[in-house]
Symmetry: D2
Subunit: 136 residues, 4 copies
């Protein structure tokens, strides 16, 4: 299983008048998380799009456990629970210090930008991820 | 069951470089939807907060069926499937003309802003909603 | 001089923890305003882009006079002070009831999307705007 | 004169369908910049608000020189050109490698959150900034 971490500091623009991170802004944190997960694996999502593959989101789920606030430094754990096929799932756990404050997951497709059709995960991605899912 | 509709036009700021509505922006559409649902019922979410009750989101789910694009006029159907208790669920269906392009749901709590503690749905809300859930 | 009006209701997602509209969100209101200004003139910005012309912003200025708050219904006046050349300027005045709460302006270019080069305002736009700038 | 630098990586959520950073999102970069400028000076904007002082924006100006794109790592220079009085001005220069792509400035007030009235810059801030403006 592939798992990595990154950090996100809450911006003022991301708060709302409750004084919390607006619930819709976690989606952008997820995005930062999965891009950094791919980068730490050795892949650039930007290059992927430049090579003609895009990854639209099909489903997302969010669970708001405790609020995050302005200037909080969120530790964001990103997990790819299974090897991607024609879809890839990312799970997210957000921590403030040791406290889990938010959980989410997204499922994305791989789409050939030229034809607009779904496709399987690119070989390069499978190649990089495979070692993390091998039975020992 | 209470159900109502409103419209949202996609803003340029809500698109991303795929040329679609950014997946995180549907949460703001849901919010517009539930505020308008309460308004059409005769309640103002603003007044609710001014009276000391806030409604933080506990969970949300989204299913991206087809993309919505810049300047699209989305027909947004909002459903409250059951009478609220200490929680309220809203379901959302987004249509472009007759085509369902997106589905979502959110569950929110009622919180007493002074004590920070959960509470039951305000009587006024129950009173307005009750007729829609009575067995005929 | 061409001038028109539209309305924008402040969304929860647009507030920040001061309880005001976040200062960066006025730019999206301007955008709604200029798109509606073009629409009421008989032009669609979407069609303009589909025909290969885009209008990137070159400059913007904002003056925050009084705060706008959640659920406020803003009356947004949009003015095109002069006939466009290779650039177009829009001015914005935002009112809550009769009170001016915000002023802004943006200058945009016309760019041929195929060549990436600046161009003059499309003839169709000049044609529609010209009657508003004629000396009587 | 006080000047410092920070970095911001462009998020997917910040792009629009032109494939550029949406023009309204630079305001959030400015905000990140001025918060980091205060932090590197030894002040926390969060603590400032917690102590009852808020800094609403009065004016902002933006000049879009070249587009920034998804995943670009922006080098953000923040300058406080003069010692604050009852107002403070921040200037921003955004670079991609050595190329200046964007310039902006914002003027903010100091407001006593309890009374809602303008006030002078807090002594602690003046104290930290003063050495940078002394004639040598």
């Amino acid at each position: 299983m592939y798992s990595t971490e990154t950090e996100v500091r809450v911006r003022y623009s991301e708060t709302d008048q409750m004084g919390y991170v607006y619930y819709g802004n976690y989606a952008a944190y997820y995005e930062v998380g999965r891009v950094e997960a791919l980068r730490s694996l050795g892949m650039s999502y930007r290059s992927l799009e430049e090579s003609g593959i895009m990854m639209p989101v099909l489903e997302s789920h969010s669970k708001y456990i405790k609020p995050a606030r302005y200037d909080d430094l969120i530790r964001l754990q990103i997990i790819i629970p299974t090897l991607p096929t024609s879809r890839i799932t990312f799970e997210y756990k957000l921590f403030l210090e040791e406290t889990l404050v938010h959980e989410g997951s997204t499922t994305l497709a791989f789409v050939n930008m030229e034809t607009g059709r779904p496709m399987r995960a690119p070989e390069a991605m499978i190649h990089l991820l495979k070692p993390f899912y091998e039975v020992k």
